[in-house]
């Protein structure tokens, strides 16, 4: 999956950079992207809604399971505020990027469409870095706490970083990672588009 995404990105950048496509084709890209994004979220929804095991685990653990993804989200948003102070990126732009929580495809696509390509690029790179850093630092984080790798993974703890998290911790943490990742994945489109609305 990651190879395919890098391949699509490189192809797109090359096509755009060397002005290969005719002007008429470019006009359709924006409109087409909007509908593709809606289709994407629909498919993500079907995937989550059809996952009976996750739903059963959610019911068993009750409201307590919400604590983990909510803490992870709050922490990331706090980090976004810190990043806004350290850089010249505006507060709501920083919060929108931080809300990606590793879900680089969705957050960057939403921000490219809602705000602009520069912020979309920042979201793409920072969230892909979050995924890579989670994989690389997983053994170290697992020593600090068994839940730390899962916190670092954010939305990615349900799929891409899950194997590494289980490897560094345990299957039990793996179950928590999936549930927390699913809830964060559902929060990402909501939070990113919410903050995008406040960017002037």
């Amino acid at each position: 999956m990651i190879a395919l995404i890098v391949c699509a990105l490189v192809m797109g950048v090359a096509l755009g950079f060397f002005n290969i496509l005719p002007e008429a084709a470019l006009g359709g890209v924006g409109l087409c992207s909007r509908w593709l994004l809606i289709a994407l979220l629909f498919l993500v929804g079907i995937d989550v809604g059809g996952n009976k095991e996750v739903l059963a685990d959610l019911k068993r653990m009750g409201a307590k399971i919400l604590v983990l993804p909510l803490a992870i989200t709050a922490g990331s948003l706090l980090g976004g505020m810190v990043a806004s102070v350290l850089t010249d990126v505006a507060l709501y732009e920083s919060l929108a990027v931080a809300s990606g929580m590793g879900y680089y495809t969705l957050s960057s696509i939403i921000l490219t469409q809602a705000v602009g390509t520069t912020l979309g690029t920042l979201a793409f790179l920072s969230n892909i870095f979050r995924e890579i850093l989670t994989v690389v630092t997983c053994p170290i984080l697992a020593r600090i706490s068994r839940l730390a790798p899962l916190a670092s993974g954010g939305a990615t703890s349900m799929d891409t970083t899950l194997p590494v998290i289980i490897q560094c911790t345990s299957k039990t943490v793996g179950v928590l990672a999936v549930i927390s990742g699913v809830i964060i994945t559902l929060l990402v489109p909501f939070l990113v588009s919410l903050f995008a609305q406040y960017i002037s």
């Binding site: 395919l4 699509a8 990105l9 797109g12 950048v13 096509l15 755009g16 950079f17 060397f18 470019l26 890209v29 087409c32 992207s33 593709l36 994004l37 809606i38 979220l41 629909f42 929804g45 079907i46 995937d47 989550v48 809604g49 059809g50 307590k64 604590v67 983990l68 803490a71 922490g75 990331s76 706090l78 980090g79 976004g80 810190v82 990043a83 350290l86 850089t87 920083s94 696509i109 939403i110 390509t117 520069t118 979309g120 690029t121 920072s126 969230n127 870095f129 979050r130 850093l133 989670t134 600090i144 706490s145 730390a148 899962l150 916190a151 954010g154 559902l186 489109p189 919410l194 609305q197």
Partner: protein, 89 residues
């Protein structure tokens, strides 16, 4: 924003109601991959055409690394605080 949330909610409801076979799930996965491929391709197109991004790629890269580090730190610290408070036990 409302269309994004609505399509997500519609998907969840349909995923819950419809009994999905394994073959359907594979089809959905393929559709998901195709849509992601096109969306990232189009995003790449917009990045490639944007001369100010292509010229500032190193600055954006440094910012991106900083954002990754501070968001990870924030999330890890928040979860450590929750663990310390004993909520998860």
């Amino acid at each position: 924003m409302i269309d994004i949330i609505l399509s997500l909610v519609c998907g969840i409801i349909i995923g819950r109601i419809l009994p999905l076979k394994e073959s359907h799930k594979i089809l959905i996965q393929k559709g998901y991959t195709a849509v992601i491929f096109l969306l990232i391709l189009f995003m790449g197109l917009q990045i490639g055409m944007n001369k100010s991004i292509m010229g500032n790629l190193s600055t954006i890269g440094v910012y991106a690394a900083l954002f990754a580090v501070v968001t990870i730190s924030g999330s890890v610290l928040a979860v450590l605080a929750v663990e310390k408070a004993g909520v998860m036990s």
